[in-house]
Amino acid sequence: MNKSFIGLIVVSTIFLIYATGFYTNFQTDSALEVIDFSIDQPEIENSVPPNPDRIPLYGDLHVHTKYSFDAYIFGVTATPYDAYRYAKGETIKHPLGFDMRLREPLDFYAVTDHGFYMGMIENYADTSSEMSKKEWTKPMHNINRPENVTTESLGERADLFSSVISQAIVQPYPYWHPKLWKAWFTNNIQVALQSFDYDVHKSAWADVANAAEEFNKPGKFTTFIGYEFTTSTDVEGGNLHRNVIFNSSKAPIRPWTRIDSLNPEDLWTWMDGLRDKGVDSLAMPHNSNGSNGQMFEVETFRGNPISIEYAEKRMRNEPVVEITQVKGTSDTHPLLSPDDEWADFEIMDKRVGSRPPTYSMPQGGYVRDAYLRGLTLEWEGRGNPYKFGLIGSSDTHTGAGGFDENNYWSKVGVLDGTDMSRGSVPLTQDRIEQLEEYAELYDQPISIQDIEGRTYADVGFDQWSASGLAVAWAEENTRDSIFQAFKRKETFATTGTRMAVRFFAGYDMQSIDIDSEDMVKNAYAKGVTMGADLFSKDNQTPQFLVWAQRDKLGAPLQRVQIIKGWVENASGTPKEKVYDVACSDGLTVDPVTNRCPDNGAKVNINDCSISSDVGAVELKTTWVDPDFDPTIKAFYYVRVLENPTCRWSTWDALKAGVKPRPDLDETIQERAWSSPIWYIPESRQLDIIPL
C-alpha cells in the first residue's frame, strides 16, 4: 500500500515535469543536442584525384581569438574569420598594431577558443549589453578601445586576469532564482552563474562554427569546428587542457566545459554520446609539460587505478597529443632522459597559468614518459591509455600562430607582443619604472630581473617558443581525409619548420629498393606506418624505413634518430634509448655510441647566418634495431633534427641591436617527431602454478 503510494507520487511528479515543459527544456539545452552548422555554399569542383601515397598537410589545431576569455583581456579583437584569413596567407594585425603574416599559407586550421566563458568577456566590455550593468564588470568596460590596446595597459590587464575575473565569475544566482532552477533542470550549470549569459555564449559558439564552415574549401583548405576544454585538477592546479575538434559541419549546441565537469573522463562520456548520434570528435591534450605530472598519471582523475575500460575510453577519444607549442616542448626532460643529449630542448618547467610561477614536476608530464607508463600499465594488465600519436600546434591567442624564429610575436597579445616584454631585450628605464609601478598598484610579484648588469622583464615568456605545426598524412586536403589521419595517428609534429618525414616498419622492408620510384607504394603494401601496431611474425626482426625531407626555406637536415622505449619483461622496468640512424654529409653512425659525428654546421650569432655547405636535403635509410628482442613490447618514433639556427630571442636581440641575453640558448635545432610504431610480441603462455 505504502509502496504503491510512493510510486504514484513518483509517476505524477515525472508527469508534471513533462507537462510543465521542463522536459522539453532539458532536451533543448542538453549539451548532446546536435546542430547542423553547414551553410549554403557554391559547390567547388575538386577535380584532383586523391593520392594513395598520401601527402603531408600542414596545419594548426590550436588557435584562440577574441572569443576566448583571456585573449580578449590580452587586447585581442581578431575574429575567427580573421584567423582563417591569416592561415590562408593574408595579413592581419597584432593587437599592438603590427602586421602578422605567414611565410607560406597552411593547409588546415582550427579555431579553438576556450569553451569556458566563450564570448562572455567581450560582452562585459560592451557597455550596451545586459551584463555590463553589473557592478563588477566595470573594470572591463571598453577595455579594448583602440587607445587602450598598448603596452601601458599591461598592468591593468594582468590584474583583471589574476583577480577580478576569477572572483567575479563564479558567483551563482540565489537558490530561489528561476535561472538556478533552469540550470538544474537542463543540466547546464553555467546558466546558474550570475556572470553568464547563455544566449551570448551560444551565439559566440555559432559564430565560431560559421567561420569554420565559411572557410572550409574541400581540396584546397580545411577547417574544423572546435574549442578548448580548459580543465585542471582542483588540487595543485595541474593543467589538463585539451582541444576538441569535430569531424563535420555537425556539432553540439554548446561546448562541454569545465563548469560542466572538471573531469576529462566526463568529457569523453559526452564525446561518446555525440558519437552515438553520428558526430565524431577527438580531444587533443596539450601542455602536459605544465601539468605537474598529472596529464599522464598512473591513476584516474579521482585517484582510482587505471583499468582496461579507462584505457580504451581514453584512446577512443584522444588518439593524438600536442607534443610542442608556444609554451614549450613536451618530448622529454633532461631529468627523465639523462642519456638523450637533445632532451634539453625548449623546456617550459612551470605549471600553466600558475601565479606565482610554480615548478611543474616532469614525471608524468612528457610524452616519452607517457609511452613508457603506457607500456608499464599494460604490463600490469591494465590496458595502455597512452598509445597516442603526435602533433604540434601554436596555442596562439592572437588568431595568428608565430612559427618562425625570425617572425615571432609569442602568443598573449599586448602582454608579450614586444621584445622587451618577452624578456629577450633589456628594458628601458621607462619600462622598468612602469613595471615597478604596476607591481605595487596591483599587488603583483616583481617582474624584473638583473642578468649580468642588465635589467630584463621576468615574466616567463623567455621559456616560450616559436612552435609548432600539426602534419597529417592524408590522401587529399579534405576534412574527412585529415580527420581520418588523426584517428589512425598517421601524423607528425614539427617545431614550426615544414620538413617532412615518412616512417614504415615491416618484415620485408629490405626487399624494397629505397631508391626506386614506387618505394612509398611498396612500403605501404609491405609494412605499417607511423601510428600503427606491428605484430610479431614468427619472432622475426623487423626493419624500419625512414625518409625525411628538409624545409625548402629552413635549414638543411643534420640527422635522423629513432627513439625506442620498452619495459623489461622480468622486472617491469621502463627503458629508453636514442639511436642516430642517418647522418648528413656522407657521415656514418658510430656503432658503439649510436651517434653521427659532428657535421660542423655553424651559426654566426652576429647576423644569424648559417653554414651553407653542410647538411642534407633529404635523409633516407633502412634500419634494424641492434638490441631487438622479439618477446618485448616496444615503441619506436622518429626525431629529425635540422642544423642549428638562431632562436627567436637571438633574432629579437639582433633586430634591436643588442647582445643576446646570456642565460638563454642562442641557437636551437628545429625538429620533427613522428607518431610511434608499436611492436607487439606474441602473447606468451603464462605458466600457471596451481595453488
Binding site: 510543465t20 515543459g21 521542463f22 527544456n25 549554403d40 555554399q41 557554391p42 577535380s47 584532383v48 584525384p49 593520392n51 601515397d53 601527402i55 607560406e104 599559407p105 557597455t127 550596451s128 528561476p178 535561472k179 533552469k182 533542470f185 537542463t186 617532412a500 615518412r502 629505397i514 631508391d515 626506386s516 620510384e517 618505394m519 612509398v520 625518409w547 625531407q549 628538409r550 625548402k552 626555406l553 656522407g586 642534407a616 636535403v617 633529404e618
Partner: protein, 266 residues
C-alpha cells in the same frame, strides 16, 4: 476672398489647439502599457526561464518595466541623453542597421551581372600545371649526373633513372601556389616557361636537379556567372551594405562643418 483666409486660419488654429491637447505626452505622467508590450515582456521572460511567470513574477516584471520607464523619462527631462557617448554610439549603430536593412535582399539579375563584371578577378580560377619529373638529389653530384642522364636519353633513348622525390614523380593539375609550396619559387618560374610535351633540364631547385616534362597547362579562367552565383550574391549584398552606409554619410556630410582648434597640441 478674405473670408476664405479667415476660415483657413481658424481651422488651422483649431487643429493646432487639438494637437496640443492630445499630444502633450511630454508633460504627461501617464505610463500606458499596451497589450502588445505586455505580451512581448511576458514571452521574453518565458523564453529565458522556460515557463510562464507566476502572478507574483508578473507583478515584478511590470514593476521593473515601469521603474525603467520612469527613470528614462526623468533622465530625458534632465536632458541626460545629451552628450552621452554611449547613447550616441548606440543611436549611430541603430541608424547604421536601418540603412543596411534598406538594401533589397534579392538583387536583380542585371545588378548581379554588372557586379560580377566589375569584380571578375575575385572569381578567377587560377591556372594549373600537370607535369612529371626525374629528380637528382643534391647529395650526389647532381647537376653532372642529371645532364649526362638526359643526354643519354636524347641520343640513345636510354631510360632516365634518378632518385625518388619525396612527394612523388607525377603532379596533376597543381596551382602556382601548390608548386611553390612543394618545390619553391625557383622551380615554379622554370615550369612557367617550359614548352609542352618536351623533356627539358636539368633545372635546379632547393632539393637538387630536375628533368621535367610539362604535360598540360589549364589556363586560368573566369567562370560564368551561373557557376559562382551564390558567392556573387553574398559578395554583392555585403558590398551593397557597406556602400549604402558610405553613400548615406557622404551625402549628409557635406551639410556639416567640422571645427577643430588649429592650435591644439596632439
Amino acid at each position: 476672398m478674405n473670408l476664405r483666409i479667415v476660415v483657413f486660419f481658424a481651422i488651422g488654429l483649431i487643429i493646432f489647439i487639438l494637437d496640443i491637447g492630445f499630444n502633450s505626452e511630454q508633460d504627461s505622467k501617464d505610463i500606458y502599457i499596451s497589450d502588445q508590450e505586455l505580451t512581448s515582456l511576458l514571452s521574453a521572460w518565458k523564453s529565458q526561464v522556460g515557463r510562464p511567470p507566476s502572478d507574483e513574477e508578473i507583478v515584478s516584471i511590470i514593476n521593473n518595466f515601469v521603474q525603467e520607464e520612469i527613470l528614462y523619462r526623468e533622465a530625458l527631462l534632465l536632458e541626460l541623453d545629451q552628450e552621452d557617448r554611449i547613447i550616441k554610439r548606440r543611436l549611430a549603430q541603430k541608424i547604421t542597421f536601418l540603412k543596411q536593412e534598406t538594401i533589397p535582399d534579392d538583387p536583380s539579375q542585371e545588378e548581379l551581372e554588372n557586379f560580377f563584371e566589375l569584380n571578375k578577378d575575385n572569381y578567377f580560377v587560377p591556372a594549373t600545371y600537370s607535369f612529371s619529373h626525374h629528380y637528382f638529389s643534391k647529395e650526389s653530384n647532381a647537376k653532372e649526373i642529371a645532364a649526362k642522364a638526359f643526354n643519354d636519353y636524347k641520343t640513345n633513348g636510354t631510360e632516365i633513372i634518378g632518385d625518388p622525390f619525396f612527394l612523388g614523380k607525377n603532379f596533376y593539375q597543381k596551382s602556382a601556389n601548390e608548386i611553390k609550396k612543394n618545390f619553391g619559387e625557383l622551380f615554379f618560374s622554370t615550369i612557367e616557361n617550359l614548352s609542352l610535351n618536351d623533356w627539358s633540364g636539368p633545372h635546379e631547385s632547393v632539393f637538387g636537379q630536375h628533368i621535367i616534362l610539362l604535360k598540360e597547362i589549364k589556363n586560368g579562367f573566369s567562370p560564368p556567372l551561373e557557376k559562382v552565383l551564390l558567392k556573387v550574391q553574398q559578395d554583392y549584398l555585403s558590398q551593397a551594405q557597406d556602400k549604402a552606409i558610405d553613400e548615406y554619410i557622404n551625402e549628409i556630410r557635406s551639410q556639416y562643418r567640422v571645427i577643430i582648434n588649429p592650435d591644439y597640441k596632439f
